[in-house]
Symmetry: C2
Subunit: 339 residues, 2 copies
Amino acid sequence: MSIKEVAARAGVSVGTVSNVLNRPHAVSAANRERVQQAIDDLGFVRNESARQLRAGRSRFLAAVVLDVANPFFTDVARGAQEAADAAGLVLLLCSSHEDVERERRHLEVLGEQRVTGILLSPVDSSPERLTELLTNRSPVVLVDSQDPGRQTCSVAVDDVHGGRLAVRHLLDAGHRRIAFIGGPNRLQQVRDRLEGARAAVAELEEDAAALTVLETEGLTVEEGRRAGARIAQLPARSRPTAAFCANDLVALGVLQDATARGVRVPQDLALVGYDDIDFAAAAAVPLTSVRQPRHLLGRTAAELLLAEAGASTAHEHQQVVFQPDLVVRLSSRHRRPRR
Amino acid sequence: MSIKEVAARAGVSVGTVSNVLNRPHAVSAANRERVQQAIDDLGFVRNESARQLRAGRSRFLAAVVLDVANPFFTDVARGAQEAADAAGLVLLLCSSHEDVERERRHLEVLGEQRVTGILLSPVDSSPERLTELLTNRSPVVLVDSQDPGRQTCSVAVDDVHGGRLAVRHLLDAGHRRIAFIGGPNRLQQVRDRLEGARAAVAELEEDAAALTVLETEGLTVEEGRRAGARIAQLPARSRPTAAFCANDLVALGVLQDATARGVRVPQDLALVGYDDIDFAAAAAVPLTSVRQPRHLLGRTAAELLLAEAGASTAHEHQQVVFQPDLVVRLSSRHRRPRR
DNA sequence: AGCAAGGCATGAAACGTTTCACAAAGGAGT
DNA sequence: ACTCCTTTGTGAAACGTTTCATGCCTTGCT
């Protein structure tokens, strides 16, 4: 089942078989034919491990994302796969489920595999953790996260701006008690979106507005439901009339809880999500959301990775930032009368 | 950066370093300590390709699914990942996007990698295509699909039964003109669910019911929307009063189209989906759906794979079949008056 | 003291490729 | 007939592990 047996059967040397496989033009037609025949007869399949060992790196591109069940990341992955396909690489998708330990294990295995590059959406993007992550064998591109130290390429969307857009929209609609729902705080996306939300509130010239921050343990539908329950428990006087959720899954959870509880959306509670996943438009109340160029994000990240991996000379790290925009739907379409 | 340099620095032989890595107990404490120090100093990372070459197989488990953007498959993948984790393997997730060519390429690469096993949800499960797929280097377990020839293990849910449950429910509610929406027909899941639907209609003792089959090009929200438009174009006399969709994404698409068109669900059109994804409950009209044990499906498949890969003696292929059940929600909760 | 047994370390072989220096053979130009 | 290319094929080295036969040393037993 190895190249050697193919060579024996075709009556040529192993070097020639290898040439047929890798530079067919350098082999005479007759031999090429004969070798091909032997390969087919024997059902020979190239052993990639051996190739890799020789080449020093594998033909994989990897994406380590926070959660494959989140459509945001599957779209990013799809964009990356497109670029990988074009380069003849295969995309490996790994999900860390927002678990630092699992992420570490994934990166370790990928390092041992000498993958061509890693598209990483880090669970913890504190500077210390980042420098730790970047002591890696393979080039890394951060997705939806940035390294202040610029030791790596990154592709991100301006989450601060996204958060500002969302909350400014709610303020414009007359809301003055607004909840920010999302977490854990360790996620840079969450921190940035919150920062944007705070900025929007601070920019308000007229009367003051209050931002209640509800931290969740993750960005899932389930966590959203829990947060919904927490809002409902607040005293009516101080209860927020609008909520900006750190992603659409959380917003959908809040919406589910509201529906179950008889809280009307948007009249009693206006909602804005983040990511504009397909399901946002299909929700019970179509969801206002901040849209990011997900596909482009993945594609660009993969391309940067390929560029870095292919660079002969020293590579110049790039930080690409895209701008998000707001898609207004029913869930926030209700003007709040001024108090 | 190789084991050799570690050995040199620690003042031992390469064999000893390898032993520290693989059977630490067989090395004296002093040497173990010294080698570990050298590894840390040099930042040595094991080269997995070389290990694989020696071992003859890689430490990957792969899942090739129809579509990573479909929550059904991400849940299956999660179950599989659990089992893989437990066995110290890493799960590779590949998406064929229902494209035969892409599936072929993925399987080829995985074969070249000598992965430990492949969890496959085939794009085309015709017997010819299956036998072609199974001439593979690595053991394969079919997910959500079966091989009549029993040349492989498979883990499936009884889709015929699921289809029957769904349509019987609609018949019980008084519907007599029912649409089946799904495709392409090449997918076994679609064929089985349709077969179940037909069986339910055939079992009807009293008056006859009509089943209109609308084939789609894929199982996506987008295709669902298109199908919704096609239903709307049918003359009112023969227009179905209920639709059973081959999966939830399609049902959500139909629902979106209905909402946009002012068709009331469930009064004008009752809907039943399939898979009971999280978003089904969160939809504009909560969706009645056939629920499958997705997580268990993935887990079981991975375990079978590991068993087969670890089997020293000849392996006995197993066909595991789970039973689905119906989750009734608002989208079908309306009794149709008898004509 | 002699011997068996066990613990440890060693060095070389093997895994299946790719690559590269070299050689043989054929053709063209003089 | 000679040289000089070009085309095509060869065989061996190298990639970084793991494994295994071998042998040394220590220890405990008789």
